[in-house]
């Protein structure tokens, strides 16, 4: 559980008070990362009738949770909480992988992975308390013709491997290449030069992305705000995704608290 230090730390600040749960980020993520829609007939062939409504079987790197203050009408409040991979400083998923198919070793601190190495043991899924890792239960299938032009950013994955959000890592590579082409420094990208698909598409500007270590990036200051918190912070995973809310009950749902415990 020794966290590796990085000069650059890509991270997110998600404003829970802004998110309307519209789902655009989830769609953009699937498109960017070639996540195939759940094709009902294919699964039916195998004797299992799953479709996209079975959230325990679907594959979505970014899930928007609907959370509420657990009160009755009319005191009831809801909020939406987009949950990408947290890219933890001490990821629970990395040390457990038996075949080094996932690691956290690159400048930027993105927990990376390699699908052709994964043997599909799912130990990482058991380890991740955020449910950020997903398994390819079947081979991906697109409706006829829809795969004609897939996103060039992410390779298609076969069945039997685990995958997760990687902060649209290819965009990081592209941003670095662009910086090199323009004579800039690939290790000091400007705020916005590298942005994830979900943050880019979000109509309410609830998802902000940048280098948490770089004071010139907006997320740097926001992550240190008193309104910011991280999910399950006290488990010690050290997520690189921060949530931002001015609502007390949202903060309290960010971690487990004993009945009479005050939030730290």
């Amino acid at each position: 559980m020794h966290a590796k230090e990085f000069k650059i730390r890509w991270g997110m600040v998600i404003d829970v008070d802004k998110c309307t749960g519209c789902g655009a980020c989830m769609v953009a993520c699937q498109v960017e990362n070639n996540i195939a829609p759940v094709t009902p007939e294919v699964d039916a062939w195998a004797g299992v009738a799953y479709d996209a409504s079975n959230k325990l079987r679907t594959l979505n790197w970014l899930t928007v949770y609907e959370i509420n203050n657990k009160k009755a009408f009319p005191e009831y409040e809801v909020a939406y909480m987009p949950r990408p991979c947290m890219q933890c400083a001490s990821p629970a998923c990395v040390p457990v992988c038996p075949v080094v198919a996932t690691d956290k070793n690159e400048e930027g601190g993105i927990v990376s992975q390699i699908y052709p190495r994964c043997i599909g043991c799912r130990y990482c899924m058991a380890a991740c308390p955020y449910h950020a890792r997903y398994f390819n239960w079947f081979d991906p299938t697109w409706p006829a013709g829809m795969a004609k032009a897939l996103s060039p950013s992410t390779s298609t994955r076969p069945r039997g491997v685990v995958e997760k959000c990687n902060f649209c890592h290819t965009r990081f590579q592209q941003a670095k290449d662009k910086a090199r082409q323009e004579g800039g420094d690939p290790n000091s990208l400007a705020d916005g030069a590298y942005n994830t698909a979900c943050a880019e598409v979000c109509p309410s500007g609830a998802i902000l992305f940048g280098d948490l270590n770089n004071p010139a990036h907006k997320v740097h200051a926001l992550a240190h705000s008193k309104h910011s918190f991280r999910l399950l912070e006290r488990l010690g995973l050290g997520p690189q995704v921060y949530y931002y809310s001015k609502r007390e009950w949202v903060h309290r749902l960010g971690d487990n608290y004993l009945p009479n415990e005050k939030k730290a």
């Binding site: 070793n105 052709p116 390779s155 298609t156 592209q174 290449d177 662009k178 090199r180 082409q181």
Partner: protein
């Protein structure tokens, strides 16, 4: 369990040795030939004609785009800049114009360094290296080399393996994290 005695001990040993030797020979001599298909490029492309005769440079066709991405093998869009009609005398060119330019079809060039979709290779990041450190030196060749395709994996025989990438990265102090090379 009828027979009490088969061949003599040494006779059995001979059969063992024979089987051993035969499979070793088969494994080292026949197997590699069986594993690969030998293929030619769909159009015999002469770098020599383009470079020496026409005075093109490497980056006339293989260049970086504005966003830093790399135009590897040229597409019809570039080739038809000159070859919208037949301009030379070679049969190869005539075939190219007829079958690809006029039919608006891209040439399925065989890439000796073919890497699958899951590999992300940035030419820009490797710009300081000589092309020939990884690619065959064809700049002056009149004939494209033979292409060997692995029948099982579909890779080119010359495709660089992961350990080669990793070794060079390690030697140069570059991270070997998964996403550095994979997407």
């Amino acid at each position: 369990m009828e027979e009490k005695k088969g061949t003599k001990c040494c006779g059995g040993f001979l059969a063992f040795v024979l089987g051993f030797l035969l499979s070793v020979v088969a494994g080292w001599v026949l197997f590699p030939g069986m594993l690969y298909s030998e293929l030619d490029q769909p159009i015999p492309f002469s770098h020599k004609i383009h470079v020496e005769d026409q005075g093109l440079t490497c980056d006339s066709c293989h260049f970086f785009r504005e966003d830093g991405s790399y135009q590897g093998l040229p597409t019809n869009e570039q080739c038809s800049g000159c070859h919208s009609e037949v301009v030379g005398q070679t049969q190869a060119e005539a075939k190219y114009v007829q079958e690809y330019v006029q039919k608006n079809k891209e040439v399925p060039w065989l890439n000796y360094q073919y890497q699958p979709d899951n590999v992300l290779f940035s030419h820009k990041a490797h710009e300081p290296f000589e092309c020939t450190e990884c690619h065959p030196d064809v700049a002056k060749a009149d004939k494209a080399p033979k292409y060997y395709e692995n029948k099982l994996s579909g890779y080119s025989k010359q495709t660089m393996k992961m350990w080669q990438c990793e070794r060079c990265h390690a030697e140069n102090g570059v991270s070997n994290a998964c996403h550095v090379c994979h997407k």
